[in-house]
Symmetry: none
Subunit: 189 residues, 4 copies
């Protein structure tokens, strides 16, 4: 196994940048290990040495660029939720960002190990942030005492994901607000 201390940081960055660049420029189908290597000016082996496959590279690239998610706690649960949900919906609606998610989801479907990594390293922070905000709201009595917070979180993000994958409707602020309304109705005391 390779010695992490000898890893070339320049190559690492070039590979991650190339992966994201290709995703944005040419679409998911054209993103191959060979293309990443070529765009990064790197040998294929240098990719295989440090990552198990294309999906892992993309995941690393996204995790690297992901900004820490922190939900505001203004005291007004509805307003706070509206903020995250609108942001999330906008992200899925953006073709650029959507492309990377699409790519990663595709890899995920054929690779259980990767699926776990994506869940834990990329999505969990986001989901946990929302759950923590809900927990605070529950403490404040704005939510039913017995409400299952994990399920509440999925009640928010599941429909977005569903609508994005199936294109069953628009991904707009209006949609986001409606979703928040429904979810709140489900968990309020």
């Amino acid at each position: 196994m390779p010695d992490l201390t000898r890893r070339n940081e320049q190559s690492r960055r070039a590979i991650l940048d190339a992966a994201l660049g290709l995703l944005g420029d040419t679409g998911y189908a054209k993103v191959t290990i060979e293309a990443i290597a070529a765009r990064a000016g790197v040998g294929k082996q240098t990719i295989y040495r440090w990552w198990p496959g294309k999906g892992a590279v993309i995941l690393d690239a996204l995790v690297e660029n992901a900004t820490a998610v922190t939900l505001p706690d203004s005291g007004d649960l509805e307003a706070d939720l509206r903020l995250v949900v609108r942001a999330t919906v906008a992200e899925f609606a953006d073709p650029r960002l959507s492309a990377t998610t699409r790519a990663l989801t595709a890899e995920t479907l054929a690779d259980d190990e990767l699926a776990g990594q994506v869940r834990d390293r990329l999505l969990r922070p986001q989901l946990d942030a929302v759950r923590d905000r809900l927990r605070a709201a529950r403490g404040a009595g704005q939510i039913r005492a017995g409400a299952d917070l994990d399920q509440a979180v999925e009640l928010i993000f599941g429909p977005i994901f569903h609508r994005w994958l199936l294109r069953t409707g628009p991904l707009t602020d209006g949609y986001a607000d409606g979703l928040v309304d429904h979810v709140l109705a489900a968990i309020r005391p």
Copy 2:
């Protein structure tokens, strides 16, 4: 464009059966056009003549085998919903059925045209059946008058999809029931 009347029904069936068989026996990665053709005892061209790609073949195979979905209307909305949701959750939990869904979802991510077909021909009937049941319930005053039924439907299926894709929790009857509770809470008067 090929003349539909001259199509060989035997080959058509053999191809769809081969596609499903391979998905069940060897897993998604091994399902290639070449393998389907070989297993069906058919020339590759016969597949390309009638389908644009692997995804379309799988879709046709699933649509062909799909049983018409009809929701019971026992008058008890909660009981009726519990039934569908439990069934859906069980389907996603079953490794065999899950494999085909996984395969189709992967193709979907790289092919917008196919995505639309999957939505309209495979999922819509299921989603519409649920929506119709909800409409009846709304007529009976069991649901808020102003409730958005489409969003309600997504509120049900979205979380299941999400949990299935991300493996964030078990897909059990208990989960199904909890989900129904939440959704009902969101849309009841």
Copy 3:
């Protein structure tokens, strides 16, 4: 076996014309049974019903269009030979005519039966005409009494074929005349 009396003359002509047309227009590589059928506005089966393969079609087309060869007998053997040899050389030098010969030769290399047909139906008349002229010359004492006329004929056409296939030199009147000189030197008394 097909009934010759019911053969459609129009189709037969269309096929032969299409074969020659394709050879002239698109080059040998593009001449396929499918292309011939398409250009002739004919079903593939109509070709396979009457000919064993592409080579046989081309052969028939050439035989049909071939003009009867008759060598003049002016009494002057050298002049008479010069005439045929110049004509033959010119034929091989012409890109259009050369293309069909090339195609036929290629088929010949993979099909012994066809090779015999080409020899007997297409070339023999030409070769025999020259041999007959030589026989007359031998009678007139212009050629050695014991000369092998068949070999003499090959001595004329062999080098032309060789030079044409291998492109070892130009195919001009000058070349033709030089060849005649050499051959005559070989067989004169």
Copy 4:
């Protein structure tokens, strides 16, 4: 363009050997790039990387195995020529060797570039050796001073080729000797 220094010599040899082996064992029609690759235990790409097509592979194989041709100069031109011509005729008569020549000739007919290569790399040495011997003979006054040596060479090999392609007669020692007689008669002083 590929880097010649990195070429795998083992693969190269295996490919050439496989090509010749297939030609000998199964006949020309079965010699495909796929078959060569399979028999050589090599990826198809490795063939396409280094050769433009089947013909070029066969040519290389033949050139590699060709023994340097050197004509003896015993002082007796007739005896020396008889030797080469008999050997050449025997080569064309041998079904094994004939098969490769047939294959190469067929490729040649559809590929001008290859035709030039065959001429220059495979046949020229043979032809030049004979021409050199003739030149020596001319120096010794055994041949007409003004004789065109190139044409003389074609006068020898052309008829052999012609007879081989058209199967107009047997390829025996007797034929070879008769041919030498005629050619010598044509160029003697």
